[in-house]
């Protein structure tokens, strides 16, 4: 516990120091994170829950912190990714030195990390809410780092409003939980009105986690933020929503089945919508943001399956669902952090996030390309990397339920499997597009043509994250040792060892595939040894002068699939068809705004605003009118109260 609190203290202190000496910011961040990692690791290693409770002089508040397996498990990615993001950010922010106050940026960065840690540690409603809101504010200020740009300001506004509305639901939720005992300490909470509490938690935490349709802020805010911050927000901050949901579930006692079904539904929809929208994007970071919605969906799906297992008395189902979800939390932190850092390196090198202006970067920035490829394979859930492992656990859970449970449960579960398969295929397509269009082929613009590899401080973290993806993928059985105590916080986890035994074989198979690749590669080398290996242009039907503009674009690559999901996407097309024998040059432009934003939130806000502005005539400017209000109020009250 002391180590964890010390880590938080270091982070906060370092943040304050950064206000004067901004170079101190990343140093303190790394130091704090390392200390924190040690602390979290100790908790997981010893398996002992440590807690600390001090009186705190605010209404209903107490400084009550506790680190059990669940908290410690979430602390690992928080501290780990934050440290790497800090190292990366030190170099990434360099161009702004002198133009902007980096001190403030680092202050809020450290504050963000510290508050995330506190969110996970807090065991008192007020303390949690304070940490939660500090987290929101800190990230808001980081998002609006480049507030001279209109789109960034707009994104910041959207994010701020969304997160604030979400918090409102949490206020009500905590009060309801603490209603019977009059204390807001988690250990005094009672599960009265559990259903209502669950719904409030779903909305409140779902807004932060980015469940569809509460995700609107996500594709706006993540691209706007500096890339190492996007990595942090997408990699771990939105996971605090998942943590909150899980924590509340531990307080609510045995779940009814509909909670599970709700989460499964929410997860499936979020994942599908998320990945389909990701496919349609041409802004690299926006694409990654939508894919975060997808992965959050997969995590939620896992939790839903876990709850279903608990409510229907299928312990294996429960254990596998939760294990898959939790492992995916860490995995997503790894590869999404990696991908955002990679995107940042690209942005840093080329100055654009528009993938249609990129291409051929693999030759310019080999290290970034390799790590990005690893991230892409991992996030597509392909073996032998970590993404497959967590998705496999969820698949396995669903299959076990689908095979053994009664039809009423089995049919939906097997439908879920089909959905997962579809999502997997789409994810692979999406990231084949992302990697292929950005890093392969010829540069599509001067930006890309004159790109340069990122510096060591940016490459290092990416390499570490990539190796993390590989490690979990190839050593997956070891993760069970960490997962079991965490899962057991939520549901009996002793069945997990038995159920998850295949992981051994899978990792074996993964290694096998790698060996095979090596063998085939060797064969190829032997074959080509001493033979003529020529170079020429790409075959283009004999047209021998290909230009970069003849390449397939990202949009055209995704077009068949986006066409398939057109009703869902609502893509806007502007195209003037060719006419005549010698048609004039024409253009085709498409953009895919977020449907829920365009069709739901915007109209509703508009209506509310219009409706309210009608009432403005109240303040009409005539003093006579104002006195009339007084007289009328008086008369109404007298007549109403005295008769």
């Amino acid at each position: 516990m002391n180590l964890l609190l010390a880590a938080v203290a270091i982070l906060v202190a370092g943040g304050v120091v950064a206000l004067w000496r901004d170079r101190g910011g990343p140093v303190a961040a790394v130091a704090g994170c390392v200390v924190g990692l040690v602390g979290a690791g100790r908790v997981l290693w010893t398996g002992a829950t440590v807690s600390l409770r001090l009186p705190w002089n605010v209404p209903f508040g107490s400084f009550y912190v506790e680190a059990d397996a669940l908290s410690a498990f979430f602390l690992l990615p928080i501290f780990g990714l934050s440290a790497l993001a800090a190292i990366y950010g030190g170099e990434y922010l360099a161009p702004w030195r002198g133009k902007k106050s980096l001190g403030a940026a680092w202050f809020f960065f450290n504050l963000l990390v510290a508050s995330m840690a506190m969110v996970v540690l807090a065991r008192n409603g007020v303390l949690f809410l304070v940490a939660w809101e500090v987290m929101a504010l800190a990230s808001f200020f980081l998002v609006t780092f480049e507030d001279e740009r209109d789109d960034v300001r707009a994104a910041g506004w959207t994010y701020l409003v969304a997160t604030h509305l979400g918090t409102a639901f949490l206020l009500a939720m905590f009060i309801l939980l603490g209603r019977e005992n009059g204390s807001l300490d988690f250990n005094r909470f009672t599960a009265g009105k559990a259903g209502l509490v669950f719904v409030l938690a779903l909305i409140g935490f779902g807004t932060k986690a980015g469940f569809w349709p509460l995700h609107v802020w996500l594709p706006e805010a993540h691209p706007a933020a500096p890339s190492h911050v996007s990595a942090l927000m997408s990699g771990v901050m939105i996971k605090t929503g998942i943590y909150g949901l899980l924590r509340v579930l531990t307080l609510l006692g045995p779940p009814p089945a509909w909670w599970g079904w709700t989460l499964i539904g929410v997860g499936l929809v979020s994942a599908l919508v998320g990945i389909v929208f990701a496919l349609a994007q041409r802004d690299l970071k926006r694409l990654l943001a939508y894919s975060s919605v997808e992965n959050i969906g997969i995590i939620t799906l896992g939790i839903g399956i876990g709850l279903l297992g608990m409510s229907t008395g299928l312990p294996v189902l429960a254990a596998l669902g939760f294990a898959g979800a939790l492992l995916h939390v860490v995995n997503h932190a790894l590869f999404k952090g990696l991908l955002f850092l990679g995107a940042g390196a690209v942005l840093h090198a080329t100055g654009t996030r528009d993938i249609e202006h990129l291409g051929g970067l693999l030759k310019k920035m080999p290290a970034t390309a390799v790590t990005f490829l690893v991230g892409a394979i991992a996030i597509s859930g392909l073996p032998p990397l970590n993404g497959f492992i967590s998705e496999f656990l969820i698949y396995l859970g669903a299959f076990k339920g689908g095979v053994s449970a009664s039809a009423a449960i089995a049919v939906p579960l097997l439908a879920v499997i089909t959905g997962l398969a579809l999502i997997g295929g789409l994810a692979a397509a999406c990231f084949a597009k992302a990697f292929g269009v950005v890093f392969l082929g010829e540069p599509r613009s001067d930006h890309a043509a004159h790109a340069h590899e990122a510096g060591p401080a940016m490459r290092g973290p990416m390499l570490l994250l990539a190796s993390g993806c590989a490690a979990i993928g190839l050593l997956s059985p070891l993760t069970l040792g960490v997962l079991t105590p965490v899962v057991s916080v939520l549901t009996p986890a002793d069945v997990l060892w038995e159920a998850a035994r295949p992981l051994t074989i899978i990792s074996g198979a993964g290694i096998g595939v790698l060996v095979l690749i090596g063998v085939v590669a060797l064969v190829r080398r032997r074959l080509l040894a001493g033979r003529s290996v020529g170079e020429t242009v790409t075959w283009d039907c004999g047209y021998a002068a290909p230009t970069a503009r003849m390449q397939y674009t990202g949009s055209s690559f995704a077009q068949p699939l986006t066409e398939l999901f057109r009703p869902l996407l609502g893509t806007r097309k502007k195209f003037t068809p060719l006419a005549g024998y010698f048609p004039a040059p024409t253009t085709l432009t498409t953009d895919t705004p977020d449907v829920s934003r365009e069709r739901v939130y915007r109209p509703v806000f508009g209506l509310v605003e219009a409706g309210l502005s009608r009432l403005r005539w109240l303040q009409h400017g005539n003093v006579q009118l104002y006195v009339l209000y007084i007289a009328l109020t008086l008369l109404v009250l007298l007549v109403w109260k005295l008769s």
Binding site: G359, G360, L362, L373, S380, L382, P383, F388, F392, Y395, L396, F399, K400, G402, V403, A410, L414, I417, T418, A421, L422, G424, G425, A429, A432, G436, V437, L440, G441, E442, P502, I505, I506, A509, G512, V513, V519, A521, R524, L528, R531, V533, G534, E535, T536, V537, T538, W539, C541, P546, M550, Q551, Y552, S556, F557, A558, Q559, P560, L561, L564
Partner: protein
């Protein structure tokens, strides 16, 4: 022991299937057609050649065929043949099975994109579209079988087949469509068209040559064999190896017949075909729920 024998069979006989298919088509077309062992000759020739690479390409282009071949060989180790379990089998291996094909596809696709050619980009784009639709069908079909047999491993499933029920027919049809789509056969794709604009799989490998191309062709043959083995396992259970091998050849003939009697669907129609197959699999799933 048997299991490894099957792998041996596959590695050796896979190219033969394509030969059979082509001979069947030739027969229908009233030609002599190429020799049964044509693909072997091609492979032998290609392996002896050097290579020519586009200046645009990078190591990804060279890695594509290698990873693809490795993945399909790994998948081969999971499918049982002739009732005997596969060397690798565990609860949920069907997921790994499907995702290995995903891995293969991913590398083929990025290798295609690495050339920067619009044709190969086009092919890649179609490939991912159809695969994204074919995968759910495969999973639905396997889910139905898993539910029916109560097992989560391919070996377990195919070990407990009772093909007397209609369910198996439905699943078989669905699997056949998946097989055709995954292996780029008519009615989804026409392997020996000569117009790049209409190709899917072929166009993706336009720029490959020499050993790389050999790997691709061999990998494709293995893929056909693997899915074929699955299909055969569903319709014709039993310990008899010879019978199963004959069934494989018969399947090749069937594919040939289909290719000769059907025309390639318009690309816009392909999704409907796959969704239809999905419907069949779903129906099977409902049926096994009783």
């Amino acid at each position: 022991m048997m299991a490894f024998v099957h792998i041996l069979f596959a590695l050796v006989l896979a190219p033969l299937l394509l030969g059979v298919i082509n001979r069947t088509k030739a027969l229908f077309a009233g030609r002599n057609g190429q020799p049964l062992l044509q693909l072997y000759y091609d492979l032998a020739k290609l392996l002896r050649k050097g290579a020519v690479y586009s200046r645009t390409t990078s190591w990804v282009f060279r890695a594509g065929p290698i990873a693809g071949l490795a993945a399909v060989v790994a998948a081969l180790a999971i499918v049982p043949f002739a009732g005997t379990g596969a060397p690798v089998s565990f609860a949920g291996d069907l997921v790994l099975f499907a995702y290995l094909f995903g891995l293969m596809r991913f590398f083929t696709v990025i290798a295609a994109l690495d050339t920067g050619s619009s044709f190969e980009g086009m092919g890649a784009s179609r490939e991912v579209q159809f695969a994204a639709l074919a995968e759910p069908v495969l999973f639905l079909a396997l889910a139905a079988l898993a539910r029916r047999t109560g097992s989560l491993s391919l070996s377990g499933i195919l070990g407990a087949v009772t093909p007397s029920e209609p369910v198996w027919a439905l699943v078989a049809v669905a699997l056949l469509v998946v097989l055709l789509a995954e292996n780029a056969r008519i009615p989804v794709d026409d392997p020996n068209t000569h117009l790049e604009l209409t190709m899917i799989h072929e166009v993706m490998v336009l720029d490959h040559g020499g050993p790389d191309f050999a790997f691709i062709l061999y990998g494709a043959a293995l893929k056909l064999w693997v899915l074929g083995a699955l299909l055969v396992g569903v319709v014709l259970p039993g310990e008899n190896i010879l019978l199963s091998l004959v069934a494989m050849l018969a399947l090749a003939v069937v594919v040939g017949v289909i290719e000769s009697t059907m025309a390639r669907l318009r690309l816009l129609r392909v999704p409907q075909l796959l969704v239809g197959a999905g419907a069949l699999a779903a129906l099977a799933l409902i049926l096994v729920m009783r």
